[in-house]
């Protein structure tokens, strides 16, 4: 059975849409949590930010255009903007969660430890380092530095199509390895 792509899960319609989004969530939750906890140093903040990121992704999923980038890049783009907005406001945004009636996140001690371990273990960074160099540079620039495809193409001296392909392949590899790791 073929595993559905991120793009297929995110844009699924009809009766299977809820299950598809849940699968998309499960696929990317560890990476998003790790990304936030490494930037905020707090499991609680990371959990709130991750929940809001996925809520905004769900609310805006119809705006996602598969031809203009991959779903994971789009998701990390939301995460980056959300982190910047929340830092400016001094509080985590909650508009998406309120709109979708998402229960406020309460973490028990075990979950706090597990989320913090995501950062301490630096699993994402290690997995990123294990990628082929061209994919690693493209993913790092696109996801971690939030650079546009055009900027990355200029920096790496290749076309935007090539950058998109490298990011897409790199994220697919990361996802598979992250799923195996958790």
């Amino acid at each position: 059975v073929r595993t559905p792509t991120d793009e297929e899960l995110l844009t699924a319609a009809g009766p299977g849409a809820a299950a598809a989004f849940a699968a998309f969530y499960e696929r990317w939750e560890p990476a998003i949590l790790a990304w936030f906890v490494r930037r905020t140093g707090s499991a609680e903040l990371a959990a709130d930010l991750a929940a809001e990121t996925f809520a905004e992704a769900l609310a805006g999923r119809l705006r996602f255009r598969p031809g203009r980038g991959d779903a994971a890049g789009w998701l990390f783009g939301i995460a980056g903007h959300l982190l910047a907005r929340s830092a400016r406001r001094g509080a985590v945004e909650e508009r998406g969660r309120l709109r979708l009636d998402v229960t406020p996140v309460v973490l028990d001690d075990d979950t706090v430890a597990a989320v913090e371990a995501l950062a301490g273990d630096d699993a994402v960074a290690r997995l990123l380092d294990a990628l082929p160099e061209d994919q690693r540079d493209a993913v790092r620039a696109r996801i971690l530095d939030d650079a546009t495809y055009e900027d990355i193409a200029r920096r790496l001296g290749c076309s935007t199509q090539v950058v998109r392909k490298r990011v897409s392949r790199g994220l697919a590899t990361l996802r598979t390895r992250l799923e195996d790791a958790t």
């Binding site: 319609a13 809820a18 969530y25 949590l33 119809l62 309120l98 979708l100 998402v102 996140v105 979950t111």
Partner: protein, 267 residues
């Protein structure tokens, strides 16, 4: 492994709701398309777009240029007719200022869809105005402040001769359930969807059919008639198709009790 299973489950439930809403909107959009084609065929005017701020409107009023959603346009013909000068009367300007001056109200209510404001009726010195808003937030014992938000509400506002205002808001679904009513003292006033042509009112004096105009019906419940019980919705062919809450059965029972208590004999 999922670290935040409640978030996943809540989002999956939200995805289910959003998908269901999307399907309903698609269906409604098809209905509106049919309705719009009919209006154009008759040489009528479709819904105007682009808000022109009314002269003399209180600057505290937040306005939205967005059209009402397809479900509302499909359910309420009054929103499909063009706005007239009468819809921008001083009473209408007063009605749209409701919920605009107190901070708590401003937080609770979204912007007024100014192009969709309609004056429904002026009766006995009072004016009833339909004020569509983009949202309404609820705070209840079970929900922290602002937790429950209803989008695209229709507010029915009454402006009395002293220019004081009162009213309440409801979603299309709430109006469909017979809950789009306000009571201003002796007068009962309510919104009803297109399929309701009249309301059959059961009183101690007898049964009266009140016609619906502009998706709106109003009647005196204490002055002209001693009491009002059953309030059933009738379609254009006079068939009962629902009614205002409480349900007709319960209303009829309570009316009987009231009429007996008052010593009235039902004719």
């Amino acid at each position: 492994m999922t670290f935040l299973p409640t978030v996943r489950d809540d989002l999956a439930a939200a995805a289910r709701r959003l998908e269901a809403r999307r399907q309903r909107r698609r269906h409604a959009a098809r209905l509106v398309l049919v309705a719009g084609a009919s209006i154009l065929a008759l040489g009528g005017v479709a819904f105007a777009t682009g808000v022109v701020r009314w002269p003399g409107l209180d600057p505290a009023v937040r306005t939205s240029a967005s059209s009402p959603p397809p479900t509302q346009l499909a359910a309420f013909g009054v929103l499909r007719r063009a706005q007239t000068d009468a819809d921008r009367s001083p009473e209408a300007k007063r009605a749209v200022t409701t919920f605009s001056h107190i901070k708590a109200d401003r937080d609770r209510f979204g912007a007024v869809r100014l192009d969709a404001v309609r004056v429904l009726l002026t009766h006995d010195g009072s004016t009833y105005v339909l004020v569509p808003r983009t949202r309404q937030a609820w705070s209840t014992a079970n929900h922290p402040p602002q937790r429950r938000v209803e989008h695209d509400v229709l507010c029915l506002v009454v402006v009395d001769p002293r220019f004081t205002v009162g009213g309440s808001c409801a979603t299309t679904a709430t109006v469909e359930r017979g809950l789009g009513a306000i009571g201003s003292g002796r007068t009962f006033a309510a919104l009803v969807p297109d399929r309701v042509a009249a309301v059959r009112v059961d009183t101690c004096e007898g049964v009266v059919d009140v016609p619906v105009h502009d998706n709106f019906v109003a009647y005196d419940r204490l002055r002209g008639w001693r009491s009002v019980g059953r309030q059933a919705w009738l379609d254009a062919r006079g068939r009962e198709i629902g009614g205002f809450f409480p349900t007709p059965h319960h209303a009829a029972r309570s009316l009987s009790a009231r009429c007996v208590r008052r010593g009235d004999a039902r004719r």
